[in-house]
Amino acid sequence: MTTRNTAPEIFPLQKINFVVPHTFDITPTVKLYWMQSVPDETTRIELHFDAGTIRGERKIAGFVNALLLSGTKDKTSTQIHEELDSLGAFIDHEIAQEIAIVSLYCLRENVESAVNILLDAIENADFPENEVSDMLREKKQNFLVSSEKVGVLVRRAFQKQLFSNSVNYSRQLELSDLDDVSIAEMKRFHKEFYLQGLRKVVVVGNLAPDYIDRLIDAVGAWSKPGNCEFEGDFVNKPGRIHIDKPGAVQTAIRMGIPLFNKTHVDFLDFQVLQTIFGDYFGSRLMSNIREDKGYTYGIGSGVAESSKAGYFIIATEVGKAVTEETLKEIRHEMDVLKNEAVPQEELDLVKNYLLGQILKSADGPNAMMDLYMAAQLHGKDFGYYNEAISHIQQIDQERIMELAKKYLNWENFSIVTAGEKE
């Protein structure tokens, strides 16, 4: 008979076999990272540009990003997409505050042709008038639709509260931005932040080494001269604001404080604390607010990092009648962590869970590359994760409480709610 009432033995994490990508200098500050060891035919190539939403005057970074493949003097947008689709290639262009990334996903056999089409489209992007007006029409529609979502309203307002001392980081798209866009301004932006804005290239694929050399030659001229400038030292506006959304049956809550990134001495230990608090399915917030009270489908916390800083957030959407109770419970969970030692059993569970997460985030060449790049962004390498593993293994109850007292102080948080006023 199998004994079902005792758990099987648990074996500790074995050593993680990190695979370090090859690094090539395109210039002294711009590098190409290549993960060659891929057991299948897939290839992913990413071009990282210093063309995030903090760049340029007003809100045009997102427009330029959206129009990268919208046509050249020789090809229409449709021609470019047909050519890429014929090669079975998928293109993503995404934009964040500090970075714009263009990604190409395709099979090995088509990489060279697909990259040529992609690079030509970016290099010679011409911003045709009809494409610009299509883009603005679509953006306007998307803006109006997303403005109906409490989750979006709360995020926009929260960014303003969190980055209150930075014009560039707090800036949000406004409807009026879509009415007055100059093509000349977009062209200037494209030239400055794309054609002279390449920050790095990431390649995951079992390609021939001489192709990597050719890729470097092909994109080298776009390299960003010198270093990128980023802001840090953000100051938030603490306290509560509400965005009214009549008719909403749920209220979105978003709250947070400016924090730090991997370079800070408390970063790793804070990760353990915030995991206990809100960053896994069994967290304090989930156990209390979802699994005990049933106020929400989900609640979580997380740390977002930027080049010179970071921030800590808590986010959820709850039944509108329980908004105040939810805030009360979030505050209560902060207080408990500040005043009562985390039970050893719970701490051990979170440690093992986090170690399992590191193992998972190193599984497969694409995940391995992402893990490496997350460290590299802050001047670190895989040694950082070995350091993380030992931090996690060593952290004790006192340290958790010390960090809770240092960082989980309700009066410092910017708190934003969006929904129907009670």
Binding site: M1, T2, R4, N5, A7, P8, I10, F11, L13, Q14, I16, N17, P39, D40, E41, T42, S77, T78, H81, E82, D85, S86, L87, G88, A89, F90, Y105, L107, R137, E138, Q141, L144, V145, E148, K149, V150, G247, V249, Q250, F281, G282, R290, E291, D292, K293, G294, T296, Y297, E317, V318, G319, D348, L349, V350, Y353, L355, G356, L359, D363, G364
Partner: protein, 413 residues
């Protein structure tokens, strides 16, 4: 090529084993052959509510998640109209923890009345968050009953209405478990760097003594062939008018399923697709348009949906849309265009198969369809599709009498 081994336990549990020597992780994926289509029309949303309760403790284990997290793993699940699928991902050396947890909840659940109350609230909040508090969030609650009059696809997995979830009783929940959660109604997939003998040993150890149960017979009311165009307009406080053209399409096991899939790509997957180019790019009647299939096991839907540009009427859109559809029916898609669509499918499949969890889920799903090796046959099925196939399928599907149209008319908030 995805390799696998297959064996069946004495109690009827089907097991697929997929070996991957490169990963330090293991996946334990469990598919129960039950979905929202198996629900009583007066007790909808049950399969999904039940999925939540499966995390509320089993006969010998008070909490599902904590022991798994202690073993460095994590777990989740999803419910569709066809199936309920549970998965665990954890360090390979701790795979027995997942087998212990999964087998215990297959053996017998032990959730409390409090757990039922909480999950009822959680699911109601999920209903609100996903379906009621999003612009256009309720569309599928309206489109399904328009397209299906007798088949249970007429309701969404979340349920027809909140009251069904509010009214769920403990005895209903227990009966549901007894009926559907048995070895004979489940398929298990183990993936990771193991030997087959070891997998057989541990699976037998944890699952071998669970009573087989009886695989429930599935007799669903068949949806009669649609013979008339259906149309419904709803008013909603949304920023722009939206449209959903839903065409009945062949069931999952039909060879024509794959043709309908590529046909939907030809119409509206990418920026080189026909609807996008004609209606969005050239005529500027819409600000977004796309085509996709629901992927259902029984007869599914090929859906064309999008949002109208300001000052464009539904009639203008309708005329332009049928022109594009009539063209696909009148003239075979050129080989070059078909090759383009197939190339994208090849790339997408290669990326999907990179993930261990994806492979495990797909093997399990194909085993439900009849043979896990179907995962390896799919590429050939797509490759064999010809322009002629496309034209035939277009002619049989893209007809007005096979179409249900839902229009969302924007009204001022």
């Amino acid at each position: 090529m995805i390799h696998f081994e297959r064996f069946t336990l004495g109690n009827g549990l089907k097991v697929i084993f997929h070996k991957d020597e490169t990963t330090p992780l293991a996946v334990v994926n469990t598919l129960y052959d039950v979905g929202a289509r198996d629900e009583d029309a007066e007790k909808t949303g049950f399969a999904h509510l039940f999925e939540h309760l499966m995390f509320g403790g089993s006969v010998n284990i008070p909490d599902f998640d904590a022991p798994l997290q202690l073993a460095g793993g994590e777990s989740n699940a999803f419910t569709s109209n066809d199936i309920t699928n549970y998965y665990d991902v954890l360090p390979a050396q701790n795979i027995e923890t997942a087998l212990w947890l999964e087998s215990d909840r297959m053996l017998s659940l032990a959730f409390t009345p409090k757990s039922l109350e909480t999950q009822r609230s959680v699911v109601i909040e999920e209903f609100r968050q996903r379906y009621l508090n999003q612009p256009y969030g309720d569309v599928w609650l309206k489109l399904r009953p328009l397209a299906y009059h007798t088949h249970p696809y007429q309701w969404a997995t979340i349920g027809k209405e909140i009251s069904h979830i509010e009214d769920a009783k403990m005895e209903d929940v227990k009966a549901f478990f007894a009926r559907f959660y048995n070895p004979s109604n489940a398929i298990l997939c183990i993936a990771g760097n193991f030997e087959l003998d070891y997998v057989k040993t541990v699976v037998n150890k944890w699952y071998g003594d669970i009573p087989s149960g009886i695989k429930p017979a599935r007799i669903l009311p068949a949806e009669p062939e649609q013979t008339e165009f259906r149309e419904q307009t709803i008013e909603s406080k949304v920023p722009s008018d939206a449209f959903y053209y839903a065409f009945k399409m062949p069931e999952r096991k039909s060879a024509d399923y794959y043709i309908a899939d590529i046909l939907s790509d030809a119409l509206g997957r990418d920026k080189s697709s026909r609807l996008y180019i004609a209606i969005q790019k050239e005529q500027k009647l819409v600000t977004e348009i796309g085509a996709y299939i629901t992927g259902s096991l029984d007869n599914g839907l090929l859906v064309i949906s999008g949002k109208l540009s300001p000052d464009v009427t539904f009639e203008q859109l309708d005329e332009a849309l049928w022109k594009v559809l009539d063209e696909v029916k009148a003239t075979a898609v050129p080989q070059e265009e078909l090759d383009r669509l197939k190339n994208k499918i090849r790339t997408a499949k290669a990326f999907q198969e990179q993930g261990l969890l994806n492979r495990a889920m797909n093997l399990t799903y194909f085993e439900l369809l009849g043979d896990a090796d179907g995962i390896n046959q799919e590429a050939l099925l797509y490759a064999g599709i010809t322009p002629d196939h496309m034209q035939k399928t277009a002619r049989s599907i893209l007809n007005k009498t096979n179409c249900s149209l839902l229009k969302v008319k924007a009204i001022q908030s």
